[in-house]
C-alpha cells in the first residue's frame, strides 16, 4: 500500500519503518515556531523543566507579531520574554519589530521552510507551509516547550483527504476563494483531524501566494495540514527563499522533494472533485468561515471597515490586487480602510512599487506588519454594531473586537472594491 505526502513526511521523521493513519508516533521536527502569545507559556514550561539549553538554537523561530509593536504594557512584557529567551539561548531566528513580519508570511519568505520539512508552530495557521509541500501543523505551547527540550513532538497520523479542482478560474477568483468555497462545502469540521491535500489542474496553475492562502485556512475546516505537492512553482520560490539561509537548491534536493508526493496507490479517506469554472468570488458571512456565499448575493451588506492583510492575504500579490482596484480612487467617506503588509520586505516592495501611495491617497491606513485586527488585538478593533470585510481567516463572534460586531471574509480584490462603495462589492463593478 502506498503513502500520501503527509504519511511520507511523518514516516521520514519518525523511527518507524511503516506508519498508518490513527497511529500515535513521536517524530523529530525540522523547525519549531512560537509567537508573543504562545511562546511565553512555552518558555515558562521549558524553564520549569530544568533544562538549560534548547535542543538546537537554529531550529527555533520566535516572532513577536500578534500584539507587536507592543500594544500595551502586558504585551510589552510578553514580547520581552521572547527577546530575553532568544538572547540567553542564542536563537538566531528571533525577529524584533523592524525586521519582523507576520510569522506565516515571514518564515517561507526567509527560506526557513522547504518542501518535505516537518514543522510545528504554536499557532494554528502554521498549516500555511503546506503550500511548500511541507507537513506543517499547529500545536500548543506545551508541545513547543517539549520540542525545545528534545526536538520532538507527538503526532496522531492523520488520514488524508484529497481535493481536486478542475476547470478554469474566473477573473478576480483565487486561492482565497477556492479555500472559502471548500470550507463552505465541507464545514468547519469537514476535515477534522485530517491532512488535506489540494491538487488538480487549477492548483498546478496557481501562484505561490494563492497557494499560501489556501493552505493557511486548512485549519478552518479542522485540517491538521493543508498540503500541496511541491512542483516547479515551489522549486522556483524555494530557490530564491533559501538564498536567505545561504543555501543553494541542488538537483539532489529536487529529486528528494519530487519523491515526496502521494503514491498512486495511496489511500485517501475521501476524494472530492470539483469543477470550479464559473465560481464567483466567495465571502464567508458571520460567524463561521463555512458560512460562504457568492459575492453577488451580498451586495446589500454595508461595511464600516475594510482590512487587507494577515497571514492569509498580506502578501505582495494581494496588495497589488487591492491597489489595482484602488488606484486613483477614494474609499467611501467615513469608511475605515486598513492595509497591513505581512512582512517588512513586502512593506518595502509596496512602497517602491507605489502601492503604499495608492492606499494612502485612497484614504487608507498603511500599517507596519502585525496580526493586529485579525484577532481583535489592535490596529482596528470593531465596536458594537460595526461591520467589517476582511481578508483575514476567522469571523467568529467577537473575533475583531465587540461580540456584537460582524466580520465577513473575502479575497483582497473584493475587500478593496467594498472600500470604494461601502458595501460588499464584486471587483468588476468598480473597475
Amino acid at each position: 500500500m502506498g503513502y500520501t505526502i503527509a504519511e511520507k513526511i511523518l514516516k521520514a521523521h519518525s523511527a518507524k519503518a511503516d506508519i498508518h493513519p490513527g497511529e500515535y508516533i513521536e517524530a523529530k521536527i525540522d523547525l519549531a515556531l512560537g509567537n508573543d502569545i504562545t511562546a511565553p507559556l512555552a518558555i515558562d514550561e521549558f524553564a520549569k523543566s530544568g533544562t538549560r539549553k534548547v535542543f538546537d538554537r537554529n531550529k527555533i523561530v520566535l516572532v513577536p507579531d500578534h500584539f507587536a509593536p507592543a500594544k500595551d504594557l502586558r504585551s510589552a512584557n510578553q514580547c520581552k520574554v521572547l527577546a530575553e529567551f532568544a538572547g540567553q539561548q542564542k536563537i538566531k531566528n528571533y525577529f524584533e519589530i523592524g525586521c519582523m513580519g507576520i510569522e506565516h508570511a515571514l518564515l517561507p519568505e526567509l527560506g526557513l521552510v522547504k518542501p518535505a520539512d516537518l514543522v510545528i508552530g504554536a499557532d494554528s495557521h502554521t498549516c500555511t507551509y503546506g503550500a511548500l509541500g511541507a507537513y506543517a501543523t499547529g500545536v500548543g505551547s506545551t508541545d513547543l516547550a517539549r520540542s525545545f527540550i528534545d526536538g520532538k513532538c507527538w503526532f496522531k497520523v492523520p488520514p488524508s483527504v484529497k481535493f481536486v479542482y478542475k476547470g478554469k478560474l474566473n477573473k478576480w477568483v483565487g486561492g482565497k476563494d477556492l479555500i472559502l468555497f471548500t470550507i463552505g462545502k465541507i464545514g468547519v469540521d469537514g476535515a477534522l483531524y485530517k491532512a488535506m491535500e489540494f491538487a488538480g489542474p487549477v492548483i498546478e496553475r496557481l501562484r505561490m501566494d494563492d497557494r499560501f492562502s489556501m493552505s493557511n485556512m486548512a485549519i478552518e475546516a479542522g485540517g491538521r495540514a493543508g498540503i500541496i505537492a511541491a512542483d516547479e512553482h515551489t522549486f522556483e520560490y524555494v530557490r530564491e527563499s533559501l538564498k536567505n539561509q545561504g543555501r543553494k537548491v541542488t538537483s539532489r534536493d529536487i529529486a528528494y522533494w519530487r519523491s515526496v508526493f502521494s503514491d498512486k496507490d495511496a489511500v485517501y479517506d475521501k476524494v472530492y472533485e470539483w469543477d470550479i469554472s464559473g465560481l464567483e468570488p466567495q465571502v464567508a458571512c458571520p460567524h463561521l468561515p463555512s458560512n460562504t456565499k457568492p459575492v453577488s448575493k451580498l451586495k446589500d451588506v454595508k461595511v464600516d471597515q475594510v482590512v487587507i492583510g494577515s497571514c492569509t492575504n498580506g502578501r505582495l500579490s494581494d496588495l497589488r490586487q487591492a491597489a489595482r482596484i484602488l488606484k486613483g480612487k477614494k474609499a467611501k467617506p467615513g469608511l475605515k480602510l486598513i492595509v497591513i503588509p505581512a512582512t517588512q520586505k513586502i512593506y518595502l516592495e509596496a512602497v517602491q512599487e507605489g502601492l503604499a501611495e495608492i492606499f494612502v491617497k485612497a484614504g487608507g491606513v498603511f500599517s507596519t506588519p502585525t496580526c493586529g485586527p485579525c484577532l481583535g488585538g489592535h490596529m482596528g478593533i470593531l465596536t458594537e454594531g460595526e461591520i467589517a470585510i476582511a481578508t483575514t481567516n476567522r469571523n467568529f463572534i467577537g473575533r475583531m473586537g465587540s461580540p456584537k460586531s460582524f466580520v465577513y471574509l473575502s479575497n483582497p480584490a473584493v475587500a478593496a472594491a467594498s472600500s470604494l462603495t461601502g458595501r460588499i462589492t464584486h471587483p468588476q463593478e468598480v473597475i
Binding site: Y24, I37, T38, P40, L41, D44, E45, K48, S49, H66, F67, K71, D72, R74, S75, N77, Q78, G121, A122, D123, S124, T126, T137, G138, V139, G140, S141, T142, D143, A145, R146, I149, D150, W154, V188, D189, L192, Y193, I219, G222, R224, L288, L375, G376, G377, R394, F396, I397, G398, R399, P403
Partner: protein
Amino acid sequence: MIIKGKVHKFGDNINTDDIIAAKYLNMTDAKELGAHCMENIAPDFVGRVTPGDIIVAGSNFGCGSSREHAPLALKGCGIAAVIAPSFAGIFFRNAINIGLPFLELADVSSISPGDILEIDLSAGRIKNLTRDQVYNTEAFPEFLQRIIEDGGLMNYVKHRRS
C-alpha cells in the same frame, strides 16, 4: 479519578475565541484567564460555575486558534472536565498535554444543563446521577494514557529522559 459536578451545556463548534477572547491573551495566569472564560458568548457563565463543574458541548469543541490559554481558562474558572462528541485537533493535544480531563461521547442529547454527572476517567464511564443513566466512552489509546498518567506532557518527557 472520579469527577463529580454540575453540567453547563454549549452547542457545536465552540471555538477558542469563545472560550477566551484574544484581548486577554496578554495574560498567562489560569485564574486571571478563567475570570473571562466564555465571556463573548455567555457573559454570566463564570458566575454560574462551581469548582468541579463539567462542560457538555457539541461537536468540534475548541476549534480555531492554538492558544493553550483556552484549556487554561477552563481550568482556571473551575471546570473539571469537558465532554463532547468531538474535539478540534489542537485543543485535543493541549488538553492531553496540560491534563484537562475530557471525554468523547457521540450522543450528548440526553444530558441537560444542571444535571449532576459522575465521571470515572480511567474507566471512561459517565453516570448521570440526575437521570439515572450511564454512558460509556472509549478509553484513550495507550500512548495518550501514558501522558495522562504521568500528569501531562512535560512530566512524560522528564520521566523518559531520567
